[in-house]
Symmetry: C2
Subunit: 888 residues, 2 copies
């Protein structure tokens, strides 16, 4: 995983090539760069020595001595105190919460205004249905098209939910341009327009992304005041908190926000980050609600979708089967939604003709989808059968309503007041309206969330779930008009409670989370239905998880982000598969005493990003791992024109003095490397923030052993010998090579007097030299596994440490390698057969019945395998036996 | 970390030596033993070959063919299906939930009966105050004394909360006898008696322990039906779920239970275990509440301490400062509670005379404490000023009451009905009662929780917090009789809401958790006060965490359990300390070509449990790690009488045949080891469950290279050469040596004809031989760190992987070692100066102001350090430079 230099703008969301780089949890240096930069700065300061460090505050003090010194002193002390405080976690979290609450509130306000405008337009034109229709359809189409175009132009990374990407980022992968100001602006404006259009789109996912960008920008801003925000590990922790803030201030649900963000983004969660999430999310939710009070929307802080269900007898025990039915049905529904959503995306991509057409007219697809959906929801048209004029928020408010709409199956007994009227149709009853609403919204939502605008799917699914719950609730109410309970008191059934349960269950099924239960409690302000909600959510999860990946995992797979699938529910065979069954045995390696030619061959022979460095081909003792780019750099530095010219000059000057000057070069190298091996690669990498304060340092010793000087020889290496190499090699190396090639031309003209044949000869000669690893960046402790490590444990370690590869060793000797790819294959192979492919319903149940015999055969095969392999390594063993064989 | 053979019963809870063994997360074999056992079983089955495997169900079928075959077939199929299902996670979780709900309910019932009995006795004797007092005091004293004695005799491990132990166990440490049936019985009965006494004791912690024991026993029981429960990793996951069940069914709070158990027991939490906890806790809470309905206690499922606060305007924004005050005060109070609790324990231990006396009369201390506390709560006595006659449950119900007790500061306006009457004293007002209650209960709870009975501190603290909140609430209500809000509607202040906030804040402060907020919502069934509760809990946590460790961490430190302290809030210096600053450089190691004498010296020279195995002293390339016990086994096998007798016999038979027979022994060893290195050590360890099915296997090859044969030579090694060794060495090795010494005597009598001088000579000769490592269990991939790894990262990796040591390497070469001890020192050194010592209040704030200059000096020192150390290893470098120095 090379440098972060490549900034190739992504061109289309369909074929977007996601560039990523693995960041380090273990054994690599990038994490320590912040510290390194500080050390470096300290060294420079030491070098400056006698020249006094400029202390800005005191300088300022001297200038302003005349006027009101004590006041100034006080102000300066305050300033200094504040700056020292800026580094504290809680200051950052409070600022993050504050900013996000303001953003959230402002966006809510803008969205409400947009929706109001549409309603006003629609209402004002009630004399002419055609005009009304035009207004109803044009308005969202324009907004969505604008949103799509705007994000497309400014930052295509802003498209979609953002949760899949955040999940990948929190795993330690750096996605380019995902946390920049440009993306932030694109996402905020794009999302506001998209939601303002009234389409069935959500804001939860985008809010997670927005909050993360907020955190990234804020930490970059605050690092102006001090170096506290340069540590990558800390920034990852802050991002995890930001995800919680995103959900928290979207729903004013701090607890649910924290839990949801944990479930959705993490595999292993550091409990020490827990308070961060709670702190920031609570503060954010608090400010968000206070703003509503301050704006006189509310009298005091209350829940967003407050319900007023009966407290003393919220539900009867005998209603629980109905709740369980909601849960199971929601599980199937959720899986179907994920499936449908993925199929739509895949269909759009597979149809070459459609795809090519849409590529050209990039805004046509959003416009078309919006047109269809808004036409169908047109209230005087088909919309009247599906409460089309209600916004998402109004829909939820009505669905969570305390009253029972259908009494004894006849809907006309009940007075529909206010916005409730939308559900009432004179020629049909409320059941029909609800069924139509659910069916239509289901495919509309699945379709709408594929539009390339910033949008999520949580809220639409939540609404559908609420409607489904309401439908079941109303049916129950119609079936048992006086409640089920046969006691003295009549406790009627509360269909609103069913709606709450349905909302939690369906959204839980789609996202594979349990915390939607907590979110609904916080949203409605009532926890009385805790048991039905929990039961339904767990059942929905059980069903959905056995059928489909979660919506976010599905998107991760579609976008081909680097991920590690979860281990399924209780698959025992996981414990029986071992590393030796899945590892790659035939790996290329670099030996300590190899020649440059060997490096060249290794580079051509493999695509691995990290090459193992072993002591010798005989002993195979693993010493460390070296990055592919480093190997390339070693090669190019050996074949650099500069070195060639140096040799040439030396030859010309004196054949005898050759030995002397060569050793002086060697000396130069070794003094440089003795200042710490991470120093050199760090300087070579484009790490702007870390190196901002040491601008003069790299200029001291430019030429020797550096990768920045490559000649035609390298060109030949890259282009002639292996035409495929440049595409295989990482973008950075390629870029560097290109850039360098141009800058080298002048040097060639100036000093190069060797013929191409001579150069080739010289290079052949150079390639036969032994490799000098002293200037290479070697990871001295790459992660090692043992052959017997189980797949389950390997998965745990990979996800715990965010690894992308590990070497398999046996008593120091390298025997194989496992990468994310092998692991993924092993897991998916046993999980679903063919990756994303849908499993037949209830496959998990069938699997488990067959598991006993299967496990037996696996065990047998393994035993056989192990017996076979165990003879092999012992033959090349480290000689422990041989030593003792000499008799005393 | 040696074998688990030592079962020395713990004698006193004061000086109890906790024996523990590190289990593996990484690179060791124990985890794979389940699988190994299966493989072994498969191998045995293969060996049996032609003899048909007995299939019990079909055999049964044949016997009963005559009677009603189809019915039997059906039953058998059902049975087979059920057995196959037993391995599923959800079956286990449902069973666990069911069992725990039943246990919880039965215990609640027993406790309620006990309390009822006391009340009845006290009520019945109201004619005579002295008799009444006797009854009031004797009853709890007897119960507590019985509880203390019972647990002491049956299982001293059952004493106390159990959460600290569970935290340690979940970190991967095996605590002996902590999850056995005996401990389960002791804990259940002891806890029932202790809580039935009416002392201020809690049941949350013990319930976590009980649930974990339930899970352990259940998995042992279910493993009778199949091998699914032999995997240690899975059992740990199930234990984590069990902790959630414990809290969940204690309070009927599934969500809060899961979160609380995560916060309290985990450092890194696997999100894939999340659903397990939710599933089991929900089921358990459901059954627990259903039992209450079934018992006609309740009409339907509701919250345990249901509140009926006003929903439409739960609190005013301007009341928030009062809630914040509750939070901050609770933070200080919580820290004080932890401090007080620890000081009492330390005082009891330090006072030698008291201690010796109490050791003798072990039941005196519990009786004395109970006597004091029950005397003070005697209702006609001092108890009348502190609502002494109320049980914990009644106290909570009254504190969460919806009414305002004090109106305009005059308490007589309000009619105290029912149990509320206890708070009303004719000659004092409710404020005095509350203050007295809080003060008295505070020290009583801190004292009572040190009694050696199974008990927790959560509930007492929760009650005190509720009383404190109520006090603030009543004061606010007296201060603003018509509410703060100056609008048309008068919204009076709800003191019950304050009580809820106070309860959550104080219990959160003591346990350092945020999830108490969720627990109160679930307990009260109302979420309307979410923001005040969250704010107070977070503030309380902030204050308490900066002052004191959590109650559980405090107990962990007192009990000296193997733990890793948490990194504090935003201590930036953590990022600047590196492994090279804290690692031990001077470590003993074993080389591949060393002699047995070297092993002896290494064993004498170090106390490390794991010794690094390097290639040679020159190269220092780390090949693996070898356990101390393994080294001891190698030595004793080399010096074993059996080997000596063999040599003797060979000498006697023929001097020429010597070479032949020695090589035949060698052959025997190598065939054995070629069947997989984990095989041998696994057989040697006392792993009963894993090896139950392979009883005949270890008997095949008893003598060669085994550790079970030790002679007087070994005795001299252990006793003469180093008198301190036996105490230093692990209990297991010592035990083994003792046991073996006795069994060896007969062998000596039978065949040993060498004089002691000859033996000594022979042994000296043996010690000069090269070590044969082929029979030793070597961890082929011990965990490695780099010198530059930051303390923060090291901490993360240690707690992620549950390590207790890691080697520090530099390009394959061993340069140092970090153990839990160094890490702990480094963290505590920077956190608190001297471990448990209390930091001055607000130390964190002072720290941060000084951090900038401190960081600078640290950076400088580090730079210097790094420069120094980098020359050192390069001199002994792996020859990369040297090779290239030869000019072409």
């Amino acid at each position: 995983s090379g440098g972060s230099g490549g900034t190739m703008a992504s061109e289309s969301e369909a074929q977007r090539a996601l560039q990523y780089e693995q960041t380090l949890m273990y054994g690599r240096y990038t994490q320590d760069l912040g510290t390194f930069a500080k050390d470096e700065a300290a060294r420079l300061r030491l070098q400056e020595g006698d020249t006094p460090r400029p202390r800005r505050p005191s300088e300022l003090l001297e200038y302003t001595q005349g006027r009101c010194a004590p006041c100034r002193v006080c102000a300066l002390q305050c300033q200094r105190f504040l700056i020292s405080k800026v580094g504290e976690d809680w200051v950052f979290l409070i600022l993050l919460g504050l900013v996000m609450a303001l953003v959230s509130w402002a966006m809510d306000f803008a969205i409400a205004t947009c929706l109001q405008a549409q309603k006003w337009m629609y209402g004002g034109l009630d004399t002419n249905v055609l005009l009304q229709y035009m207004a109803w359809v044009t308005y969202p189409t324009v907004l969505i098209t604008f949103s799509a175009g705007f994000t497309q132009i400014l930052a295509p990374q802003a498209v979609g939910s953002g949760i899949p990407e955040m999940k990948t980022i929190l795993r330690g992968v750096v996605l380019k341009e995902y946390l920049t100001l440009k993306t932030f602006v694109a996402k905020v404006i794009g999302l506001t327009c998209a939601l303002g259009s009234g389409m069935p789109l959500g804001k939860e996912g985008p809010f997670v992304h927005i909050a993360s960008m907020c955190a990234a920008l804020l930490s970059r801003f605050l690092s102006l005041f001090g170096g506290f925000y340069e540590n990558e590990a800390r920034n990852i922790e802050m991002l995890a908190a930001a995800c919680a803030v995103g959900v928290g201030c979207c729903f004013a649900a701090p607890i649910g926000g924290v839990l949801f963000s944990i479930e959705v983004t993490s595999t292993f969660f550091a409990v020490r980050n827990y308070w961060r999430g709670f702190f920031a999310a609570t503060f954010s939710a608090f400010i968000f609600r206070v703003l509503a009070v301050w704006n006189k929307d509310e009298e005091t802080i209350t829940a967003l979708f407050k319900t007023r269900f009966r407290l003393d007898f919220p539900f009867d025990l005998q209603e629980l089967p109905a709740f369980a039915v909601i849960g199971i049905a929601s599980g199937f529904g959720g899986a179907l939604f994920v499936y449908l959503n993925r199929k739509i995306v895949q269909f759009m991509r597979r149809q070459k003709t459609i795809n090519r057409f849409l590529m050209k007219k990039r805004l046509l697809f959003p416009a078309l989808v919006t047109l269809i959906i808004s036409t169908l929801t047109f209230p005087p048209g088909f919309g009247q059968f599906m409460a089309g004029q209600l916004t998402q928020k109004d829909t939820l408010v009505t669905l969570f309503d305390n009253q029972t709409w259908a009494k004894q199956g006849i809907s006309d007994e009940f007075e529909y007041l206010g916005i409730l009227e939308a559900w009432h149709h004179p020629r049909s009853n409320v059941f029909v309206t609800l069924v139509v609403f659910i069916l239509m919204k289901f495919w509309m939502s699945a379709l709408a969330t594929t539009i390339p605008v910033p949008c999520g799917a949580f809220m639409p699914v939540f609404v559908i779930g609420a409607a489904f719950g309401r439908l079941v609730g109303e049916s129950m109410a119609a079936w048992f008009p006086d409640g089920i309970h046969t006691d003295s008191n009549i406790y009627r059934i509360v269909p609103g409670g069913y709606a709450v349960v349905g909302a939690a269950a369906l959204s839980g099924a789609v996202t594979h989370t349990v915390s939607t239960a907590v979110i609904v409690f916080e949203l409605t302000g009532q926890i009385s239905h805790i048991l039905p909600v929990m039961i339904a959510v767990i059942l929905a999860n059980a069903v959905a998880q056995s059928l489909q990946p979660s919506l976010y995992d599905s998107i991760i797979r579609i976008k081909k982000l680097p991920y590690l699938p979860e281990l399924g529910w209780g698959h025992h065979e996981k414990y029986n598969v071992r590393v030796e069954d899945i590892m790659v045995r035939d790996i290329r390696y670099v030996t300590l005493n190899c020649k440059y030619r060997d490096l060249q061959q290794v580079l051509h022979g493999t695509k691995m990003k990290n090459l193992p460095l072993v002591e010798s081909a005989e002993s195979m003792i693993l010493l460390g791992s070296i990055e592919r780019t480093q190997v390339g750099a070693l090669l190019s530095s050996q074949l650099s024109p500069h070195r060639r010219l140096l040799t040439l000059r030396q030859k010309v000057l004196s054949e005898d003095g050759h030995r002397l000057s060569d050793s002086s070069i060697r000396f130069q190298i070794s003094t440089e490397t003795s200042s710490g091996s991470p120093a050199r690669p760090a300087l070579r990498k484009p790490l702007k923030p870390a190196l901002k304060r040491v601008p003069s340092s790299p200029a001291d010793s430019p030429p020797v052993g550096s990768a920045d000087h490559t000649g035609i020889a390298l060109k030949s290496l890259f282009c002639a010998n292996a035409a495929t190499e440049p595409t295989e090699a990482q973008g950075t190396t390629y870029h560097k090579a290109k850039r360098v090639r141009i800058s080298i031309v002048e040097e060639m003209i100036l000093g190069d007097k060797m013929t191409p044949a001579e150069i080739l000869e010289w290079e052949e000669q150079q390639l036969d030299q032994l490799v000098d690893f002293s200037s290479a960046k070697i990871d001295p402790a790459p992660f090692q596994l043992v052959e017997h490590t189980s797949l389950h444990k390997t998965h745990t370690i990979f996800s715990l440490l965010g690894l992308d590869h590990a070497f398999v060793t046996s008593i120091g000797r390298l025997v194989g390698m496992v990468t994310l790819k092998e692991l993924r294959k092993a897991i998916e192979g046993s999980l679903t057969g063919k990756g994303v492919k849908v499993r037949p319903p209830l496959a998990s149940f069938r699997d488990s019945t067959a598991s006993t015999t299967e496990a037996d055969t696996t065990a047998l095969r393994q035993l056989w395998d192990r017996h076979q392999h165990h003879h092999m390594p012992r033959e090349a063993g480290p000689g422990g036996d041989d030593d003792d064989n000499t008799p005393k």
